[in-house]
Symmetry: C2
Subunit: 895 residues, 2 copies
């Protein structure tokens, strides 16, 4: 049997239904579903050419599969019979729309052609039949313009020039003021221009028009904006394989005062409130609503003016929601008092609305909690957790520049150029945006008080971006339109600014504005709490078998946080801290000075003396975190970065300043700086390698941890402190460091009369650690995958340098996703799987998690779940999204 390519709908029945989205596209499937019982809604008849044809069309080099023409002819005939009009009929022509529709909504990205079937003869028939020549000629005018532009590629401006010239001659301003004669003149001029442009007459044969329009819609699948849209929205072309084409009878909302066209939402897509929303334009075609030329009436006005229509569409709203169990976005047209449904689909919504609808629909018993959890995209929660620009103010604001959306949320304040200025202005009660080329660890204090951070260089994993995300501060990064023109001046997108001028930045969109845009603060509603508690229930109850055959229960979300972020982590529901980076604590004075003195020391004794000065300060920091977390896990990673990050001496000025601060000669600083400088610092002398060469560093840190825990214990506080060793390459590192740490802990226990024990675990950041996980597991109580470094070494990509080629890779589909955003299953996933299998072969219940940047990425979280990890740890502001994403992974995996 030949493949079926075309599916009919209308007249209370349909060959397809909503389950056939992959074949009919969203629009075609929903039209079929609406048309047939039990909904049996008034849908103009039509047929849908399947997505398979789109694939064939491209496979065959933009040709149609054999037999399609006959099948289309058959269904067109059925359409004509059903609707009682014939395409091209000179007295009473059938007009059709030709519409796109992929399995996933891509609003506005592909082409649509309306009013098809008009020609020099049928336009007269239409005028006579409707007794409305102006309507008919306006429809013909619109059709030539749309078909000429969309299907035949004639420049849009050429049409607009003709309209403008006719309007000028007629002395009118609006299109609606054009008379039938004006429109006839426009049609004539359009055709003349078309012939000149295309070298042939505008097609009069409706069959030619229809096939031209079908080709245009299939062609639009591969137009540039559609490709970019799919890329930006992570629409995988192996899943969403093309567009369907729906040909359906035209109905007209522009046939007088009892006609009209509308768009409706079954609930408020902005707030999620359960009230019907609709916009309706009397005597108009759908495109007029979209074009925004006239202001539509709202739902209450419709109720007054056309109560029977309001009642009918309200009933349909209820029936559609009851059927689809979701908020519906509907398009309808009223032709001379009769309602037609042109489209329905699950409506897009804001984050807050998504949460509210999900919670409400569970309360209404419309959906289950699991279904509710799948209704909200994890990224949508960002809108509930970060300040946003006031929507109205934003509408009228024009961005000066656009760059990387590095840390979400909106911020507005006066420009400052240094961290010190930021701190000073903050003390003076001002709100500031810190604008810098890039940030460094020295800038932390200024970054912390800023409303937002804007940098001219650096990517999503630059210092500014990583720290800002951790702090929840809005950040726009790598904005090359920011050009520093002097000490206190900058141009942004060519416009000059000086210190103290106001700008606004949106870290969610990457946009920069040269004006004040008021900001509304974030609020965590009760609905969100309810919603996330369901996510926790689902994750906690989860049980799965890992690829290596082990059973793992539960799936936790922890946070990457130090003392400043711990309260946020706690509030956002982190099950604990999965990564406390002790080095961040060294960047505060007076710890920094002592640590720098330690680094430039030549002997173990000097190093120990300087470390001793830091010990009580670190102890205080650790104690604070333990107290904040109220007994939840606190995983403290010992020193990780290379020491050169603490010695800023790349210029003579910096070297001199540091020498003065540390009370040594510039020569000493320069010598140390040069000794510490590395060719490939990411692969250099860092992490636990420092503890092999200088054991006293980790010993001091462990002592501070033990004393802080002892202090908490003596005060009766709950505590669950874990020690994590970074950069482990071989088990022998961990074995030795563990023994040293346990000796230090034993000493503290002896001195203080405590009997503290700590889990000691290993980061897995290098493929060798994964490959030898069985050896490492002998000495590790847990593993935490540092997926940033693991991705770097597995790929051989430097995070700091890969921006030079990653765009080419993504554009050419050499990579399908940025591996530093979404964990790479094929490569890094194999390493994690190796470690899981080998580690748990030695310790069946070995606790595994990740604490890289991927911990907040939904796709990566799903992979972690699949690979059998016990937890993910991410920045505090990503914790709610991760709690949800984890639950979604569980639900999808259970299906």
């Amino acid at each position: 049997m030949a493949t079926k390519y075309v599916y009919f709908f209308g007249n209370g029945d349909a060959e397809g239904d909503e389950s056939m989205r992959p074949i009919l596209g969203g629009k075609g499937a929903n039209l079929a579903q609406m048309a047939k019982a039990p909904l049996s809604l008034p849908v103009p008849p039509g047929f849908t050419i399947s997505i398979d044809v789109c694939q064939e069309y491209y496979k065959l080099g933009k040709k149609y599969p054999a037999g399609l023409d006959a099948e289309v002819a058959k269904y067109l005939n059925k359409l004509e019979t059903t609707f009682g009009k014939k395409l091209g009929d000179e007295n009473d022509p059938l007009l059709v729309s030709v519409r796109s529709g992929a399995a996933e909504s891509m609003p506005g990205m592909m082409d649509t052609i309306l009013n098809l079937g008009l020609n020099d003869k049928s336009v007269v028939g239409l005028a006579n039949k409707t007794n409305n020549p102006r309507f008919a000629w306006d429809a013909y005018r619109r059709f030539i313009q749309m078909y000429g532009n969309v299907a035949m590629g004639v420049d849009h401006d050429k049409f607009e020039e003709i309209i403008s010239s006719v309007k000028a001659k007629a002395g009118v301003k609006e299109d609606t003021e054009l008379t039938t004669e004006n429109l006839q003149e426009i049609v004539a001029k359009y055709k003349e221009m078309y012939k000149k442009e295309k070298g042939e007459d505008f097609p009069q044969d409706p069959q030619v028009q229809m096939w031209g329009a079908i080709g245009a819609v299939f062609g639009s699948w591969m137009n540039e904006r559609a490709i970019i849209y799919r890329k930006l929205n992570n629409i995988d072309e192996n899943v969403i394989k093309g567009t369907a084409v729906t040909v359906m009878a035209m109905v007209f909302g522009n046939m007088g005062e009892t006609s009209g066209t509308g768009v409706a939402f079954s609930r408020d897509p902005s707030t999620g409130e359960n009230h019907f929303m609709a916009e309706y334009l009397i005597n108009a075609q759908g495109e007029d609503v979209v074009a925004g030329i006239r202001t539509p009436m709202d739902i209450s006005a419709l109720e007054k003016q056309q109560p029977e229509i309001f009642k009918e569409i309200s009933t349909i709203r209820d029936r559609l929601e009851a059927h689809y169990h979701d908020m519906q976005d509907m398009e309808f047209t009223v032709q001379e008092g009769k309602l037609f449904m042109l489209q329905c689909r699950n409506g897009k919504r804001t984050g807050p609305a998504a949460v509210k609808m999900a919670v409400d629909m569970v309360a209404e018993k419309m959906i289950t909690k699991e279904e509710a959890l799948l209704r909200v995209k994890p990224d949508q929660l960002d809108q509930l957790l970060h300040p946003q620009f006031e929507a109205k103010a934003l509408k009228s604001a024009k961005p000066l520049a656009s760059a990387l959306n590095a840390s979400p949320g909106a911020g507005c304040g006066e420009i400052v150029f240094t961290a010190d200025e930021a701190v000073a202005e903050d003390k003076a009660g001002k709100k500031v945006i810190l604008v810098r080329k890039e940030t460094s660890p020295d800038d932390i204090a200024g970054m912390y008080v800023a409303q937002g951070i804007l940098t001219s260089t650096g990517g999503r994993t630059s210092h500014a971006a990583v720290v800002a995300r951790g702090m929840g501060t809005p950040c726009v990064c790598g904005c090359s339109d920011v050009v520093f023109t002097g000490k206190d001046t900058v141009t942004i997108g060519g416009k000059e600014f000086k210190k103290g001028d106001y700008i606004s930045i949106d870290g969610s969109t990457g946009k920069v504005y040269g004006e004040v845009i008021p900001v509304t603060p974030a609020s965590v509603s009760g609905d969100l709490e309810t919603f996330l508690s369901w996510a926790d229930e689902v994750r906690n109850a989860s049980v799965r078998t890992t690829p290596s055959g082990k059973t793992v229960k539960g799936f936790d979300v922890l946070a990457n946080a130090e003392q400043n972020e711990a309260p946020q982590a706690f509030r956002f529901g982190a099950a604990g801290i999965g990564l406390c980076r002790t080095e961040h604590m060294f960047f505060e004075e007076p710890k920094l000075t002592s640590f720098q003195k330690m680094i430039i020391s030549d002997t173990t004794e000097e190093r120990k003396a300087n470390l001793a000065a830091i010990l009580p300060l670190q102890q205080k920091d650790f104690y604070g975190i333990i107290k904040t977390m109220e007994g939840r896990a606190v995983t403290i990673r010992l020193l990780d970065p290379p020491l050169n990050e603490f010695v800023q001496a790349e210029t003579p000025e910096l070297a001199a300043a540091l020498a003065k601060k540390l009370g040594v000669s510039v020569e000493v600083i320069n010598k140390k700086y040069s000794e510490l400088n590395e060719h490939n610092p990411m692969l250099g002398h860092r992490g636990c390698r420092l503890a092999i060469t200088y054991p006293e560093i980790y010993e001091t840190q462990v002592e501070a941890i033990a004393r802080a825990t002892a202090q908490a214990e003596k005060e009766g506080l709950k505590h669950d402190v874990r020690i994590m060793i970074p950069n482990v390459t071989t088990f022998a590192e961990l074995k030795q460091i563990r023994a040293q740490a346990e000796a230090v802990i034993a000493n503290v226990n002896k001195e203080l009369g405590t009997s503290l024990k700590f889990q000691i675990g290993s980061m897995i950041e290098f493929p060798r650690a994964a490959a030898t996980a069985n050896q490492i597991a002998e000495y590790a109580d847990f593993f935490s995958f540092g997926t940033n470094d693991l991705t770097q070494t597995t790929f051989g990509f430097s995070r700091d340098d890969y921006s030079k080629f990653i765009d080419s890779y993504l554009d050419q589909k050499v990579l399908l996703q940025d591996p530093f955003k979404t964990l790479d299953e094929d490569g890094v996933g194999v390493m994690i799987g190796l470690a899981e299998e080998k580690g748990r072969a030695v310790k069946a219940d070995l606790h595994l998690g990740i604490c890289g940047e991927h911990g907040g990425d939904p796709a990566s979280i799903a992979l972690c779940y699949k690979l059998g990890l016990n937890y993910v740890s991410c920045s505090p502001f990503r914790v709610p999204a991760a709690r949800l994403a984890g639950a979604q992974a569980v639900i999808k995996s259970n299906k």
Copy 2:
């Protein structure tokens, strides 16, 4: 049954034999073997305390296992009975030596004590019994000194001071001139000093003496020089687990003119010639030979003076060789006309001797070819392939400094400080040593003409080291004793030198000399050719099953070589070129200028124009290599390093020079330099990543390869050219680049009427490539593991930076070997294994090899064989060693 700890030998029988080396050590096992039938050689009786006791001794905290004392007492009694003397007997005392002996020879590293059993009374008995008081008192003097120093730790100088003072008082110069009275005075003073130093009398009880000596020998297993020796000689303490202690009756070569002591070699250990060599000292103890105080007579003198002894030892020589099937190193003593064998072992030998003996012994049917192949260490072949200092001249030379032995061979010449000077002096007929801080690709021409290269910074994998090894030029690297004091001056080890002064360097030992030392050129003897042909036979015939269950036949050795090295590679028997680094070809002018212009181009067109200028020159290079290799494989790797290696502009001077050369502004250079600069260049924009962003680079290289091959084909030359893509991270890179390359090849075929096909393969240098080898294999005809980069990324170690911590790692045994010298089985081996399994799952006969620095390392070669690789590729000068090491891997694996 209690463990047996002690083993007797003597009186024509023994409890042990040579198979018991792991228990008795080499010395103990060979003494037993010599003592018992069928050899039944005259060995003084004794017993050996096993290596197990050494292990127990350390396990128990330097205590002996229970029962050992009784067992020793029993065997001492047996020794006394056998020898007819009693330890401590006041009239006729038994004297014993207490000797160390591990399972592997560690000459001179551990302790030995002679003449034990003497005390104030037995010395008199000995004097009377031998009627030789001077001998007896000299023996007692020696014993106190040796025991005091070795067993009790009394400073050697304290004894020497006493001897000197007595000699001064007596007015004599030599020890031999001391009278009995002098010796008695010395003994008295020794004992006095001993008491002062140790707070107790010198032990008079021979039992105390014996146990003290046994403890000293076991203790010497862990003395610093023994530990260092094991480390330097890669003696694994898990295999060679300790020392045995042999207590044997003393015989005396210093009892008059019919006594003497000697050392003999069954063949010449320097040349390997099959003639008996011995050195003999009349009236002397063994230690006198070692001390070099007197000049021993040679074998012909012995034959004349003591023909019966000569005849006996000659017979023993023949019997020992016939028994051990190897050249023997023997120690013997003649006591009053009676010969005693004190030791025999397989003799150490030079590389040339090892090869000659191996080949001769096969001809003599003493050993098989396989045995012969195991007799020569691969590294020993270096001595046959590189120039060496003349041995005599070297003996009197004193090194000024010592650093990394980066590329073997000796060189002597005038100092030059720049590559240009080297080239100029070479043209003037001078021999030069290039002395630099470090070298860069710009220095290639100068490095090529130099006799040797000496750098003050950089490690074994620095540019200088890698290039020098490739060229076979001697190189000493990272010599911090080289200090540049001016443009044309330097100090080496504190001594001043200027341009034109002579120095000599030995790249095999890392030593630097401030004088002329004549150099003898390398010669490849006929024996070596024969020997290596056996190695080839063994490798070619090998068949094995890989860990993934595939059958692999043969194991080839290829070379890493470009046009200059290809002839050497061919001569040294490489089966082909496994790695031709095209980037090396870009460093020659005028290619370099064109390539630099290409790099600073802003458009594809500019890049193509500059590449077009390079194309015919690369074609010429490739053609030359193809011709040289006479149909053997030529594997050409397309551009690998980051482009910044070609743009030297780190100083304003360099930038200005480059700008002038390329005819652009300094700003252009600085901008490009800054764009190309990377944080972690090893993980940056390089290799095939450049071909994704700039496809024209690889397309040009492929075209040059295709045209060169076509040229060879038209001339009737044999060719087997393969194209290798570096830095592959994902199959999609290879897929795309392969398609582009095949299009280029098709064009060349079309234009030239050829039908060339090329194997196109992938480097596997990143763990992700290994993990996704099944995907990559779909597009690859072969894999070559780039084990340098694979080690870097698997470990997360930067080759350029790891010198900061690797010594600590090796010292603390956190790593047991340097992973850049010897391939890491546990980690990198897992990656190679993954790739082997996944790659061959897709293509069962996928050709696999390595082309990193490890390709010349014997242990790494053995691992490659085990993992199922088809070949290794190494620098030309390592090819002979690799041919041998590969054969050894085969033989050992077949056992």
